[in-house]
């Protein structure tokens, strides 16, 4: 009997040596004449265990990790090919690992289980049944289902997806577009990458459904060039989806059409902002457009366009398959469904944690994360990417929902959580926020383009104790000007982390 062994192939597993582990396993199997099939699955997002090798047994999949190539021979000696659990790296049944078991995975239900580019694997786990349902409905009925789900955009601004789609549906035009924002520029976020690397057909299906909903026949995935693995896997999946009739001019034999193409960005954070992204897709510099008009009305090449984040579109197949009401039964307040949180930075157990909205930040960092990687005291947490505030301990009990975060002057954004231990110099972090804006500003408006450069200088003077009080006042004033006077959230939110440092970690601007 052939034993099936899984070795993940997502960026993080590869970054931790998964390819050499897979090669070593194959080598060991050959030299011992063992009947073994090695499958490259996606990652479950238990990244501190990567590479996480899983062995299929009659009782379920047994995990070993983190496995290095040098461990393989000893693991095989200890009975890895038989699913034997007698080894320090043995983790027991993977599904029973608390980090995974205690999640509520709707979007990431398949991640890590399947070979990401296998259509058979995808279909075996409910794949394409959302699209099948959508093909029975008209556009308005699909949009109504999305509205019923309460889904809000997961890319940061949390705008209701159903309303966005309705606007595009209502806009008359001979050509409309679905654009997937896969720019994922925020530090500490990797959920979009995981969708594309671990379950790419889910995104393809979500985009095809969006196309049916608003009558758009062309989709683009705008993918950042920093993600070579996602690029390769996504293109492979698209090619296979075409061959199997899940893309192209006859979707599942319905006579309806949807074409999809990946376009690479070129290392500009601002191209995650939706209007800048559209400019970039049109082949221009990624300068932010003033709104209105909304992209839903005048979008790509001047046509009505849905611009949605990867996670928003990835939530769609579940909603269509299981119903908007089912999705909406998760969550709290106006934040419905689940949010894939990403725990990163100085954390013992980092990875992807999909939960219904409403758990607290502390639960996430302690129960799931297990504290800091360094073992030192946790001092500050940045949530929501480089434009998000740094939260001090007094705010760690904030529930993870959009409104609760806004109430403490923070943002949930795309769900990235970056932990820092007590060796962090918060003055340095404040300075970096301004520096990042200098590098990444699109340059269209003065408060952002010039203000960020002045911000770096003022913080340098504060840190050098040069006229400190006056310069602190100047910095506060500069932050206000950027918040009030910037065209988009790049300049408008860069002050958030800076202000949070001034407010919650003032001692670090005094040393």
């Amino acid at each position: 009997m052939t034993t099936r062994i899984f070795v993940p192939c997502d960026t993080t597993a590869l970054a931790m040596g998964a390819d050499t582990v897979a090669a070593e396993l194959a080598q060991q199997a050959r030299s011992r004449g063992a009947q073994v099939e090695i499958i490259r699955n996606g990652s479950r997002g238990l990244f501190w265990l990567e590479p996480l090798v899983e062995v299929e047994t009659p009782d379920g999949r047994i995990g070993f990790g983190p496995v290095e190539a040098d461990d393989v021979a000893a693991l095989v000696d200890a009975g890895l090919f038989e699913g034997n659990a007698q080894h320090p790296l043995a983790l027991g049944l993977v599904e029973e690992i608390p980090f995974l078991k205690n999640q509520q995975r709707l979007t990431f239900a398949r991640a890590g289980i399947t070979d990401p580019v296998s259509i058979e694997d995808y279909r075996a786990l409910d794949g394409f049944s959302g699209l099948e349902k959508a093909l029975q409905l008209d556009g308005q009925q699909i949009v109504d289902e999305i509205k019923a789900s309460g889904l809000r955009g997961r890319g940061g601004a949390a705008f209701p997806t159903g309303i966005k789609w309705q606007t595009v549906l209502n806009a008359p035009a001979e050509q409309k577009y679905i654009v997937c924002n896969a720019d994922e520029g925020d530090s500490g976020t990797f959920a979009d990458r995981m969708v594309m690397e671990c379950d790419p057909y889910m995104l393809i299906e979500g985009m095809a459904i969006a196309g049916l909903a608003v009558d758009a026949t062309q989709g683009y995935i705008y993918l950042r060039s920093e993600y070579p693995v996602a690029h390769r896997l996504m293109n492979q999946a698209i090619e296979r989806a075409y061959a199997a009739g899940y893309l192209g001019d006859n979707l599942m034999g319905s006579g309806k059409r949807f074409d999809l193409e990946v376009r690479l960005g070129a290392g500009a954070y601002i191209c995650g902002e939706e209007t800048s992204l559209l400019e970039s897709l049109e082949g221009k510099r990624g300068l932010v457009r003033a709104k209105p008009p909304l992209p839903a009305i005048v979008g790509l090449f001047g046509k009505p366009t849905v611009v949605n984040n990867v996670l928003s579109l990835a939530a769609v197949p579940f909603i269509m398959d299981k119903g908007g009401e089912t999705y909406a039964s998760y969550g709290m307040g106006r934040s419905l469904g689940t949010l894939p949180m990403q725990l990163a930075g100085n954390v013992k157990r980092g990875g992807l944690i999909e939960l219904a909205f409403g758990a607290t930040l502390r639960q996430l960092m302690e129960d799931f994360g297990g504290g800091t990687f360094s073992g030192r005291a946790l001092r500050a947490v940045q949530v929501g990417g480089p434009l998000g505030a740094y939260l001090p301990e007094s705010q760690w009990d904030t529930p993870l929902d959009y409104e609760s975060f806004a109430a403490v002057g923070a943002v949930l954004g795309h769900g990235g959580v970056v932990m820092f231990d007590d060796t962090v110099d918060m003055g340095e972090q404040a300075r970096f926020s301004m520096e990042f804006c200098v590098v990444e500003s699109c340059g269209k408006c003065t408060p952002c383009r010039i203000g960020s450069t002045r911000g770096v200088e003022v913080i340098d003077r504060i840190r050098a104790n040069d006229n400190r009080d006056a310069n602190l006042e100047l910095l506060a004033d500069l932050c206000d000007t950027m918040v009030d006077g910037s065209l988009c959230a790049m300049g408008g939110m860069t002050p958030f982390p800076v202000q949070s440092v001034m407010k919650h970690f003032p001692e670090d601007l005094q040393r």
């Binding site: 960026t11 993080t12 590869l14 970054a15 931790m16 990244f47 501190w48 990567e50 994922e184 520029g185 925020d186 530090s187 500490g188 976020t189 990797f190 990458r193 060039s225 920093e226 993600y227 070579p228 693995v229 996602a230 376009r263 690479l264 960005g265 070129a266 290392g267 500009a268 954070y269 970039s280 897709l281 049109e282 082949g283 221009k284 510099r285 990624g286 090449f301 990403q342 725990l343 990163a344 930075g345 100085n346 954390v347 980092g350 990875g351 990687f373 940045q382 480089p386 990235g416 970056v418 932990m419 820092f420 231990d421 962090v424 340095e428 972090q429 970096f432 990042f436 590098v439 990444e440």
Partner: protein, 163 residues
């Protein structure tokens, strides 16, 4: 850049012609040229402009806007170090300093032997196993200064074998 062909106007034109029909073709064309030759030669700018009916200034403006595109040949290998927050929290500032000192170059610089070009990058999506670096299309996690030295020496020995 070893392994990559030297550009010629004809080769550049072939890349342009393969993609110019696409809507919004400029970025795909620039990517194709850089992937093929390692950079976008300034001489290609008027050629691209002609094909897309854009001015040189427009094409140049796009190339210079994006961090990814370069207009001069890089070293044999490109080493990107992540400068973003999750990596900072795990010691990337020390890693950057170590890389600059041991390679003897600043960001965007190429070592004297033309082996390695050092570049900053803002997040590789490997933030749970920070700090991260990228060499070519390979990403590495939990990179200490010692691990970086090993990666660098592997790059340079491999390059020597090629010669």
């Amino acid at each position: 850049m070893s392994g990559l062909p030297q550009w010629t106007p004809e080769l550049i034109q072939a890349e342009i012609d393969a993609l110019k029909h696409k809507p919004g073709a400029l970025l795909p064309i620039l990517h194709a040229i850089q992937d093929k030759f390692g950079y976008v030669p300034p001489e290609a700018v008027p050629q691209i402009g002609d094909a897309l009916q854009q001015t040189r200034a427009e094409v140049h403006g796009v190339i210079s806007f994006y961090h990814h595109f370069r207009t001069a040949a890089p070293g044999t290998h490109t080493l990107q170090i992540c400068r973003a927050e999750a990596c900072q929290s795990m010691g990337s500032r020390a890693l950057e300093a170590h890389a600059k000192a041991s390679l003897g170059v600043d960001y965007h610089g190429t070592t004297a032997d033309r082996e390695i070009t050092l570049e900053p990058v803002y997040c590789l999506g490997n933030c749970a196993c920070a700090p991260s670096v990228r060499i070519g299309d390979d990403i590495h996690g939990r990179v200490t200064p010692e691990k970086l030295d090993r990666l660098v020496s592997r790059m340079t020995t491999r390059a020597l074998e090629l010669k």
